[in-house]
Symmetry: D2
Subunit: 425 residues, 4 copies
Amino acid sequence: MADDAERRSGAGSGAKSGHDRDRDTTILTRLKDGSLKLYELEKELSPIDAIRVRREFMEQETGTPLENIGIFSIDVDRVVKRNCENMIGTVQVPVGVAGPVIVNGGYASGRFYLPLATTEGALVASVNRGCSAISKAGGAEVRILHDGMTRAPVFAADSVGHAAQVCDWVTVHRDELRVAAESTTSHGKMTGIVTFVAGTSVFVRLEFDTKDAMGMNMVTIASAKVADLIAQGTGVRLIALSGNMCTDKKPAAINGILGRGRSVVAGVSLTHELISQVFKTDARTLFEVNYRKNFVGSARAGSMGFNAHAVNVVAAMFIACGQDAAHAIDGSTCITTVDLTDTGVYVAVTLPSLPVGTVGGGTGVETQAECLKLLGVAGSGTPPGTNAKKLAEIIGAAVLAGELSLLGALAAQHLARAHQQLGRG
Amino acid sequence: MADDAERRSGAGSGAKSGHDRDRDTTILTRLKDGSLKLYELEKELSPIDAIRVRREFMEQETGTPLENIGIFSIDVDRVVKRNCENMIGTVQVPVGVAGPVIVNGGYASGRFYLPLATTEGALVASVNRGCSAISKAGGAEVRILHDGMTRAPVFAADSVGHAAQVCDWVTVHRDELRVAAESTTSHGKMTGIVTFVAGTSVFVRLEFDTKDAMGMNMVTIASAKVADLIAQGTGVRLIALSGNMCTDKKPAAINGILGRGRSVVAGVSLTHELISQVFKTDARTLFEVNYRKNFVGSARAGSMGFNAHAVNVVAAMFIACGQDAAHAIDGSTCITTVDLTDTGVYVAVTLPSLPVGTVGGGTGVETQAECLKLLGVAGSGTPPGTNAKKLAEIIGAAVLAGELSLLGALAAQHLARAHQQLGRG
Amino acid sequence: MADDAERRSGAGSGAKSGHDRDRDTTILTRLKDGSLKLYELEKELSPIDAIRVRREFMEQETGTPLENIGIFSIDVDRVVKRNCENMIGTVQVPVGVAGPVIVNGGYASGRFYLPLATTEGALVASVNRGCSAISKAGGAEVRILHDGMTRAPVFAADSVGHAAQVCDWVTVHRDELRVAAESTTSHGKMTGIVTFVAGTSVFVRLEFDTKDAMGMNMVTIASAKVADLIAQGTGVRLIALSGNMCTDKKPAAINGILGRGRSVVAGVSLTHELISQVFKTDARTLFEVNYRKNFVGSARAGSMGFNAHAVNVVAAMFIACGQDAAHAIDGSTCITTVDLTDTGVYVAVTLPSLPVGTVGGGTGVETQAECLKLLGVAGSGTPPGTNAKKLAEIIGAAVLAGELSLLGALAAQHLARAHQQLGRG
Amino acid sequence: MADDAERRSGAGSGAKSGHDRDRDTTILTRLKDGSLKLYELEKELSPIDAIRVRREFMEQETGTPLENIGIFSIDVDRVVKRNCENMIGTVQVPVGVAGPVIVNGGYASGRFYLPLATTEGALVASVNRGCSAISKAGGAEVRILHDGMTRAPVFAADSVGHAAQVCDWVTVHRDELRVAAESTTSHGKMTGIVTFVAGTSVFVRLEFDTKDAMGMNMVTIASAKVADLIAQGTGVRLIALSGNMCTDKKPAAINGILGRGRSVVAGVSLTHELISQVFKTDARTLFEVNYRKNFVGSARAGSMGFNAHAVNVVAAMFIACGQDAAHAIDGSTCITTVDLTDTGVYVAVTLPSLPVGTVGGGTGVETQAECLKLLGVAGSGTPPGTNAKKLAEIIGAAVLAGELSLLGALAAQHLARAHQQLGRG
């Protein structure tokens, strides 16, 4: 394995022949004088060599040794084509496991260890405590409420009358637009098309069942086809394939209301005894923390996030599992509710717009693929779509664990002490 | 180095003695029968061994080989204490470089290569194109408008009259609260304290100059001290150290309006010629894409994000540079403006709540530290605070590059083609 | 007519007989000693007398002469039953007319004088100037994009699984719910039913075509019927007939996105010449004011209103025309766009949630009915619904006039001078 | 008084001489042929005659008798100068009284009858029930938390660097800007000046103590002066005197967070017994309605309003009391909280941005002035400002009454029945 790591890292200078050394020197000179661009290296070198030479160039340019960035084991041939241009190596993000957590979902059923990639001390421990509470309570109940990835091109009409006509045209031609959209993809199914008008701007929000893919690319390509037909059919001008009513990678009410990606809800009932045992607090206090912080505080702050720290869990799971980390912003749209019940509390998280996939994107990078395998969701499910939904449910349960634990810690006023013990700041 | 990597990976089975093997077997048995908890491994084993045994346990439990997760070069002794509990290894996130980009900031000045950790194909290439445009235009002008990390405990008063009294008490005792707050930290300075009332809930938003630290922990510890004094002085009950008016890790208007972390603005003037040359479009089209997408579309979607994809750049820079990835949600709060000018366009990004630091958190992990060194911002600045501000300015310029490039691509309607050429979806 | 006014005002003390005087004195004594409640007066007296005696009681209690409040001409017999309890008279709100404005709508077509009830000096003059510009440009193009009044009861489920079942049940029983809903109304048609889940809370948003009625009451009664069936069929608990996802009388993204009441868009194209002539400014400046104020400023302020002062016009039209003044909050949700065109600008307003009616509510009060008649929209249209839509289109054009005029005034920096000339402050 | 009403109404045709009749006919002819504009009538006629002739013109143009609009008693000489252009008469809005409600405020203290101008049946009765509950509980505790009317001009800078300079310049010249601002007003005091940047747009939010005036005009005039100085001092271009960060007459997070106008909080503690007696429900149900509707529902709807129907009360009080009805949109920004307590519930409303005044605007119109007198707040207070604050506190208590009553009705599931009994829809 050491050999393997060495080869992949492109760091094995001992094995470099005189010929190779000369070639590298020439290339570095050309990079410096600008006759070769950094992104052209893969045209002249194998991926592994391109990465190494590019890193050497960076080291020389900045006077910074990049030793650790150069150590990696993933297969870069595919990565440089699909995941990352101008690659110089990798950063290693620590992965901890929380759990197991029992999940009783529509797709995920059983005990799961959760891989969390993070450098935020105390996060894994916190989620772990939440998993413990959930499992002791019999598991998290999880449901997928909606499933559909969206893209919304924006067009410019000549007038508001023209804009209204475009909407009518789309309604009338809905079926043929669907056929055209689906002709661009072997998997995706168009499940919705809605129009919105703002003055002369017309937004057409297309929704697709993207099976096990997160699906943004599939949807973008299909939308381009549909957008062309709309432009041809109505004389409206296409302004941008994404008109921000998708809404991709921005917090947006439309995602919260209509859903985007997988819409997940997860809940668990905790008895008074369990609350006392695991969280050293009581139902009323747990409830009050959630009420004053996640509702009154968020309302007062003009926040779109009615939760404690959903993004911590979403981001850590996304990075571990090869999801698009930027999607943590949509994915962490979350309402956390704590209901007082006769027996204790019922705690739930609602995640209307979790964009996840188990194929494509970063899911094939070896370390990330291992995390997906750990959860039993790598690659396409049977039938297609079930793996992505299973992953969404597991993340839903993980977020529930994280919320439970932080609310519990705040309730017990342990937060500051936890930070002090870590000696950070 | 191969040896080194082997040792660090904890994977060197060849070197394991019979004694070690027996010990591991015993421990695995205890983990399975529940007499030893996963998080207790570090009590019995060295960090590197604990990670290895925990990973072996996970492999056996889930039947999943975790070969690549086990290959890493970072120093885990510190990581397991400060960054990640229950560690089983790392995920390797590909790092590409964009740039160089010329930055004319108050703290960052010169040419910078931007490290971006991502698995989203086309992102690095896109930012790279934006950097090229910026540099050709003479560089991005960047300014820090405000600097202050916040925490807002929430208290429960008995009545609205009591709530009003608490606000008055805080105003009167401001100086002694500051002294108390600053007694908990060697670096931080309390720069603000504001009260908000919603019914019986009182929120006290404390703001600190945290120098080169991102500062959440420092601020949380100081807030605990202040919160205790307020509770003692007024009889109000502390409900939670974080009352969501901070607002940490949720999209929130209060951060956009009052700022949180580093508030950054970056802009660049592009001539008609440059727009045509780099983006194959014109000023009017670039402007119209931004207007209809980032303003009209975002307004219509009820979005808090008036930008194209700021989070892509923020998340990739954060992961590369050891920032808290979950903070990308606050950090990517962004308004992107394109003004039509006599000579072309002036494009700017405004990032009011970028929480970054160059010490603490994940900044000490070796691969991430190398990314910070690449930017010349590792560790404490001289004077303290200047490195973090420099990093904030560089990220501001990077976001500007990303916005420019995507707006340009949309304007030229190249987006779908770019995706198709990558063969993804 | 003077006699008539006197009679109605209940102020004609000269005509009061000794018997009446004694009766009144007795009643006033009972009101004072608490043996008769203010709201019980109509049980013992005719409406006109009840109003008079109640006012006299108020005068005595507070030592305040309420002479003018007692002068009115409207028929109070119906008002005290349908519009106002504990009535003591009326306030007189000045009505000015703006226009005529030419409207080219789907329902409103022709020249309209706009009645505006307001005490804000300069408003009528401002709208008038906008009307002038619109008419000179050939009229406002207006379209109704959507029409549907909504109510969303909220239920409490036992768990998230139960919540998901409730949604499924509603989907399956959609037709029978519609039949039940429509059995409660002679006019309304149920046009939509959508479910939303947040933890254990289930919201069922019902949408109706309410014809010429604004329709809140019709929809509330129908929703009560539907809510009972859902509770019976699923075992879920009804918490409130309005669960705030309606959303009634609060600013809410859901109304902006999905529409509520009448969704209206109005636009007009202004030439360079017209802009210069009417507004003493130019296309570029008009555009820039809208861009920096209504988009950049509103985005920066965390505002849900991307307009200049839509509510001024909506409130003034609503009060004049007997609409529910509180609905001005929903009705003024508005995005104002100014597009640069080859010939000048295209200005539009988008009002997604304008709740208006021409029957019911305050539309029958005589002064308000006269305003509706002035617009040719009093009572039921032929076919039903056309009058309300016509009114919505006229208000759309009026808002457009108001926006145009204020943007023009700001562009010409006349605002402060206008205020100074009015000598107010 | 009948004579008086007749004169004022301008309807006394019997008294019209032949000379007058000829003059009117001539004028009507000139209006019809366009040689005289509607708004020019006051140049040729006394206000009362101008109103009458304009109304006659409208009647002829539209074929609509406007008999009731022509009946009014208010003094139009001032109204046509200050409140309404192109006046044709008034609409009569029914006024009911609710209460008395006991208010224990910082400025308002005692029992108050609340005048509510509305055509929404059941509203006065509902508020009345809330007043009863509050008074039985000993009264509403009310506090003013902040007081300051704002205006925020927007400027265009050349670059983000220039924008940052403008902010610095404003900070440095704060004192001289205040002197200049205050030179424009005899009453107002500048209490704050804050700058915000979004790209090249600079917003300067000025805050004033406007004493008993609502103050928008005062603040606008002062802002014009300040804006000129800033433009002169920095070379920045003034784009609009109102840049929407004020934020005037739009829902906006900035008002909720920083306050605008009078920031009011009102609360009351209700015992179990009182809840049962007045509302026929219990503490837990009342609490749950508020939690699921006003928090969970509003959060799920992307609403900025965390209340049941605050605007109903604010609009009705505003119209009755001569406030700017369009300001109900800002004024009704409200968070309603219901806390479970040992003895029952504590219910509170928080109104951060209530723009009210007791001088200027519509406060001098006779009917509206009588409503203010009814509350003991007409005209300037001693010291100045106390009347406006007293009015704000009374409205706070009124909103509390309205919220209590609707929550109670929903809790008892009486809402639909109430509507059915009114026989409306």
